[in-house]
Symmetry: C2
Subunit: 143 residues, 2 copies
Amino acid sequence: MSVIFSKKCEYALQAILYLASKDEKEYFSAREIAKDLKIPKEFISKILQSLVNFKIVGSKKGKNGGFYLAKNPNKIRLIDIVEAIDGLDVFTTCVLGFPECSYDSPCPVHSEWGKLRSLAYDMLSSQTIDHFTEKTLKKINQL
Amino acid sequence: MSVIFSKKCEYALQAILYLASKDEKEYFSAREIAKDLKIPKEFISKILQSLVNFKIVGSKKGKNGGFYLAKNPNKIRLIDIVEAIDGLDVFTTCVLGFPECSYDSPCPVHSEWGKLRSLAYDMLSSQTIDHFTEKTLKKINQL
DNA sequence: ATTAATTCGGATAAATTAATCTTATTAAAC
DNA sequence: GTTTAATAAGATTAATTTATCCGAATTAAT
Ligand code: SF4
Ligand code: SF4
C-alpha cells in the first residue's frame, strides 16, 4: 500500500483545516474534533499535543479548555504541518529507495520524478490553510 | 515519515530495473540480485516470487536457475510494478485521508492535488523501464 | 472546597509492514 | 543416483506505525 502522508500527518492536516475553518469558538476540545472528523480521540489528542510543541497549535488545559490555532491561518502552510509530523525526507530521498540520492548519483528516474517532487513541494509551500476553509466546512458536514 | 512507495515496491522497482539493464545472462538468482542491490535476499526473493505471479517476471528453479523479465522491457511500465505491489489506491483515495473521495465531495485540496496526482500517474504510465537501463547500470555500480 | 472536564506524559496494546527461517520441490552437474 | 544450488510456499519473528489506556496536572463551574 503506497502512502503519501502518514496517518498521523493526514489527521494533523484535517485537524488544522478544521480549526481554521471554524472560528466562532475560542477552544475546540480533542473530543469534539475527533467526533466531527470521525477519528480516534486519543490519537488526535496526541497529534495535537505535538503540534502544540511545534507552536502551530495552542492549547488551554482544564474545563472548557481545548486547542486553537497559534498562528493566523494565512501564515500556516500545508508544508508546515507535513514538516512537523512526517518531516521533509520525501522531498530529498530517492523514490526508488536507492541510498545516497544526490545530483552526482541520481537514481534512474531522477529527472522525471524530480519535476513532480518540486511541483508537490511548491504547491504545499505556497498554499496556506485559510485558502481551504470553505471546502473544509463542506467536507466536514458530509462526514 | 512520509513514503511514496512501500519498501516492497521500491525493491521491486529496483529489481526490475536491474533485470532490464543486465541482459548478458539468462537467469539472475535472488542471491546475486540481493548482493548487487544490497537488499535482504529473503525479502527480494519473496517480492520476485509475487512478480512472477503477476507475469512480469519469469523464473526457473534448480541449479543455475533464477529470475528474468517475462516481457520486453519496453512493454513494462513503472506503473505496472507499482500496481502489482502497492495497488493504485494512492491515485484514487484522498491525500488528506478523508473518506469517500469523489468528484461530488472533493477534499479541500482537491483541485491543487489532483493535478499533481494526474501528472504522477501519467509519468509512471508513460515511462517504460527500457528507458532507464543506462542510468540504472551507473547507479548499481555505485552501490 | 468539590466536582467535572480538559490537556499532558508515559506506558501499553493492536495492527501492519518488513524481514527471516524452515521445509519442500526442482533441475543441473558430477 | 548423489550432491549442489536454486525457486516456492508457509510460518515465524522483528520493527514500525497506529491506537488506546491511565494517572497527574490544570482550570472552570458549582
Ligand atoms: S529522482 Fe533523483 S532526486 Fe529524486 S530521489 Fe531519485 S535520485 Fe533523488
Ligand atoms: S484532492 Fe480530490 S481527488 Fe484528490 S484525494 Fe482529495 S478529494 Fe480525492
